[in-house]
């Protein structure tokens, strides 16, 4: 028993049974039980009514015999019974008809009269040993019903105790009962199957709002929607409303956090800019250089730490288009580096999406493309393709240029985890290191190698 419930509770992997499975199991267990009890009760009731009808019928037959019989004693005191040749009930006269009649004075084993139907049949135990008792007796045998009535018969020599007995074979009763049972169970089975099918369709219909909710949540998870949309019944509406409220609040909080940090960056950086400009007024070149270095360090620490604090949305539900983001950035950078007459080669499909915050995607691509623009001669290529690892979709992207490339020892410093901002001084360093950090936050990898174009090639993966 424990095992059955253990199995019903869920699969061996520990996943609980679905609502549909629970309700289905409930119906599968309860419906046969309910139909068995119903069938049993109906069977009993029908059997009772058949027996009662049989009793009435046999009582009628006894009355028939009582009406037809003439009993008297002769001079020797022997009891004689006269019955007409044909009785009203023809089955008494048919051989082996299943209906047998007996008339016997009390205390005698042999009947004084037997209906003709008994002639080929040994039936006829008339319960001579039973005490005389005025009234009727009805009993159920294995193969037949027996009805007897004890009466006092008025004769010339006084009253005679006589027992009238009718025995009726159970064949017909059994036949009727069997036919009834066949019909009953056939219809109950059909009703049971019908009810299970009906229950399944009710389940399907009844659980459809939950299925819709699951689809909406999936759409949200894959970034196709930012809230749970659609009409839901009153029972699930509060759940959906609360969920949407929670999502809105979370997104607002994220925006507030981001704005707050942005403002903090603004209020820290403007004084730094002032200090930077004031440096030109310092005449002592050594002091100026020292201050310059400290201001640069402060700026880099502020930039790096704020970026790390803001860009932590790897749980974001957004789906950000890769191609559109690249095109916007290329357009903007083409403007800034107009003198270089840059050529961007984009090998990107329209349907490639990054599953994460669009600002993070722009930050990664912006940093990498700005570096590429800064160091390239003219050509920059951007490629992306989707691939699946262990059932999870990833976007693999490559940004390469025809610049001077990145020296191997610098590559290691840039990609070192938890690198301090002020320890990276090379031109490409900070942007690349920030990009690498965001990529890692999303569970991806960033690698630096040599590009076939001649410069650096940055290859990285992001969740699709």
């Amino acid at each position: 028993m424990k095992n059955i419930f253990g199995n019903l509770r869920g699969s061996p992997s520990g996943n609980p049974l679905s609502l549909r499975q629970r309700l289905l199991w409930g119906a599968i267990v309860s419906l046969p039980l309910f139909f068995s009890l119903t069938g049993f009760a109906l069977d009993r009731a029908f059997q009772r009514s058949l027996i009662s009808a049989e009793q009435d019928n046999l009582q009628g037959q006894i009355y028939l015999l009582l009406a037809a019989a003439e009993i008297d004693t002769d001079q020797n005191g022997n009891i004689n019974v006269w019955m007409p040749d044909s009785l009203l009930e023809p089955r008494f006269s048919q051989l082996d008809s299943g209906l047998y009649g007996f008339i016997a004075p009390l205390g005698q084993q042999n009947a004084l009269w037997r209906s003709s139907s008994t002639e080929l049949n040994a039936q006829g135990n008339i319960d001579a040993e039973q005490d005389f008792k005025l009234g009727t007796r009805f009993s159920l045998g294995t193969n037949n019903f027996k009805f007897s009535q004890d009466v006092f018969w008025e004769s010339r020599q006084g009253t005679l105790p006589v027992r009238f007995t009718v025995i009726h074979s159970k064949d017909r009763f059994q036949g009727e009962l069997q036919a009834y049972r066949d019909q009953l169970w056939l219809w109950l089975t059909l009703a049971g199957v019908g009810l299970i099918i009906f229950q399944l369709s009710i389940l399907h219909w009844g659980l459809s709002p939950l299925r819709k909710l699951a689809t909406a949540l999936k759409a949200m998870q894959s970034g196709n929607s930012v809230k749970v949309d659609g009409d839901f019944p009153s029972e699930t509406r509060p759940l959906v409303d609360n969920l949407n409220q929670l999502l809105t609040r979370e997104s607002e909080q994220r925006q507030r956090y981001r704005d707050g940090l942005g403002n903090l960056a603004h209020s820290l950086k403007t004084p730094l800019a002032v200090m930077h400009t004031q440096l030109t007024d310092i005449k002592n070149p050594e002091l100026r250089e020292q201050l310059q270095e400290q201001i640069t360090r402060m700026d880099q620490v502020v930039r790096r730490q704020l970026q790390r604090a803001v860009l932590r949305h790897s749980d974001s539900r957004e789906r950000s288009p890769i191609k559109a983001t690249c095109e916007r950035l290329c357009q903007a950078l083409r403007k800034v580096y107009r003198d270089k007459n840059l050529q961007f080669e984009l090998a990107l499909y329209e349907d490639l999406h990054f599953c994460g915050d669009s600002a993070d995607l722009m930050e990664v691509l912006g940093n990498l493309l700005e570096n590429a623009c800064k160091f390239s001669q003219q050509k920059i290529s951007i490629g992306a393709k989707k691939h699946t690892v262990n059932g999870k979709d990833f976007i693999q992207m490559v940004v390469s240029d025809d610049g001077c490339g990145i020296a191997p020892h610098v590559r290691e410093t840039i990609l070192e985890r938890g690198q301090r901002a002020d320890s990276i001084n090379s031109g490409q360093g900070i942007g690349l290191s920030v990009a690498a950090e965001i990529v890692r936050d999303y569970g991806g990898e960033l690698d630096i190698s040599d590009s076939p174009l001649g410069g650096a090639s940055i290859e990285f993966t992001l969740p699709a």
Binding site: L272, H276, V310, A359
Partner: protein, 225 residues
């Protein structure tokens, strides 16, 4: 060259105005977006430096509004929020370059030079007019290889004329582009100024790079080689 600086931080704004002013640029400055828009619509600037985080009207909206008004002078965006989203929005709104705070004043000057040169259609910082060579990066003018000794105002006058060749530039336009709003616009000053400039860049009066059109103004006659 006349520049507009829109920056809400007073100290930084004044520092920028004085640093760039010392280089001979005429500077107008505004402390909020609305004032910046008024100035941008009212005067024909050669370049604007606009901060993105401005009170009244934010930087991106200001740039959009200026472009809608048909103002096509180059714009350098200053931003403390060095998120790419902000930079791209600023560039898409109509900015031409961006600079993240804090920045080195030399960096800003270099960007301003590059944009002014680019606006005049020159790819290199050295523009050769035959015997005369204008170097917008070094801010020098040389005649037959000898660098002319010019004050920053004289250089700017020459640069403005050279970057707008074969165009009649009136004294009023020249004043507007060379001096800020508070300057007393006396046309005699320009005439004296022009005479001195001609003497310095063309001592033997053989090249005659700038001609005077009576009642109309001046015209730069040389073409880049």
């Amino acid at each position: 060259m006349r520049l507009l600086i829109v920056e809400d931080e007073t100290v930084l704004r004044e520092q920028l105005a004085s640093t760039l002013g010392a280089d001979g640029y005429a500077i107008d400055h505004a402390s909020d977006g609305r004032e910046g828009l008024y100035l941008g619509k009212e005067y024909n600037y050669d370049l604007a430096v606009i901060d993105l985080g401005l009170p009244e009207l934010d930087g991106v909206s200001l740039i959009k509004a200026l472009r809608l008004e048909g103002r096509n002078f180059p714009i350098i965006i200053l931003t403390a929020r060095d998120q790419w989203q902000d930079k791209v929005e600023g560039l898409e709104a109509g900015g031409d370059d961006y600079l993240t705070k804090p920045f080195h004043p030399q960096e800003l000057k270099a960007r301003i030079n590059a944009l002014l040169r680019r606006a005049a259609g020159h790819a290199s910082s050295e523009i050769n007019y035959g015997q005369l060579v204008l170097d917008t990066r070094a801010k020098t003018v040389s005649c037959n290889g000898a660098v002319a000794e010019l004050t920053s105002f004289e250089y700017n006058t020459f640069e403005y004329m050279a970057l707008n060749p074969n165009k009649v530039v009136s004294k009023v336009t020249l004043t507007e582009h060379l001096y800020d709003q508070d300057f007393d616009r006396d046309s005699n000053v320009i005439e004296v100024f022009m005479m001195r400039l001609r003497k310095k860049i063309d001592p033997d009066n053989s090249l005659k790079p700038i001609s005077t059109l009576r009642g109309q103004g001046y015209r730069f006659e040389l073409k880049p080689v």
